[in-house]
Symmetry: C2
Subunit: 250 residues, 2 copies
Amino acid sequence: MPHRYFTKEIAGGHAVLSGEDAHHLARVMRAKLGQTVILCDGNAVEYTGTITAFGPDTVEFAVSEGYPTAAEPGVEMTLFVGYPKQDKLEQILQHGTELGIAHFVPFFSRYCVAAPKKEEQKNARYARIVLEAAKQAGRGVIPEVALALENFGAVCRALKGFDAVLFFYECGGVSLASALKAYRAAKPGTAPRPKLALITGAEGGFAPEEAAAAAAAGAVTVGLGPRILRCETAPLAAAAAVLALTENLE
Amino acid sequence: MPHRYFTKEIAGGHAVLSGEDAHHLARVMRAKLGQTVILCDGNAVEYTGTITAFGPDTVEFAVSEGYPTAAEPGVEMTLFVGYPKQDKLEQILQHGTELGIAHFVPFFSRYCVAAPKKEEQKNARYARIVLEAAKQAGRGVIPEVALALENFGAVCRALKGFDAVLFFYECGGVSLASALKAYRAAKPGTAPRPKLALITGAEGGFAPEEAAAAAAAGAVTVGLGPRILRCETAPLAAAAAVLALTENLE
């Protein structure tokens, strides 16, 4: 399988790779003139790039016609995730990127144990984790990680514009299959790529008022089975289940 | 929610908790006479236990009629998992237990990077990890962790007696939904609790000969989508998808 790189510098049949990726391709992989790699613009379009020149810190390519990446799921998933302790958010970002999540929005809520601290610095680190995971997973889009929302009210105000909002509640709810079926029946043949919001909690779960607020903001309350999932397991199980039930895990 | 403990000492309307669990209930939770907890025999039967006495290292109970646990999925999943590097097997055991896997069978294969070393000692540690995860997740059964199989041939010889064997291959295969549908059509109304084998690889994936050997041993080759999942993500995504598609995640 040829190597894959993200670059924004693709235009007019020509592309340039610079920085660490250029170093990796030229020095680590010892690529030769005429060798091909896959270049992705980070916007779900890929190109076959043929190396035409090596600069001191760049690699240049002649590129083919762009073609849509096959790696993006047919649903655009935004994960609203309760801010967990320790490095669990990093695990969720990494594995969630592999599974195809498009946007991550961490949030603080009533029962969160983690407290906001140096969030801007951490956000830059989270963006790097997601970029590396996107490269490894062969994603066509680099997921975005938002700065953490400060409370659950802010989450509820951010739920407009989705085709379906799924609130995964530890106290249970309807089945995910029936929630997905109901939204499809309600909006037949709408968005070609439906926007789904998935909401999962931190270690402490959700306060009853938060569950009520989510429902009032249009979320469907969904259960993930009778077993108690950890806060780092629930979002990955939810995403995998959404993919399986929408024919996006095949 | 009352606390839950596993104990084998349940008979004739009477039960005993000893060791660390007794210490936890008596000293840490400061339980009182007459208080109730849920006792589980580890064989999917639960009891309501009312504390009748505290011994020096034990807690004694009067117990109700046993009732089947609600936490076990309607499919009995055995995960054959390629032995990964570092602590990834521990992550898979922990989160796989939350998701309801009944048996874990690690194995070495052609492209495994990890090498077998002190496996008996490690197995004891794995059993403790799974026990703690089973307690936390509210499982009715404590999953078993087998000693690692030494090569993929041993995996293929262990695939008898399953209702379906799903070989998750990084080079793709049929969809999980169609694989599950096909086995149901082939065996209508058989096992009330079907036994499913899930096979996922280590970092290096599978050799083509191993994929062929799995198919020859009766496995259905299944894909998990066009994104490249890490070896610690694939088994959890596979288990969550199986649960979602068999109505066991609700």
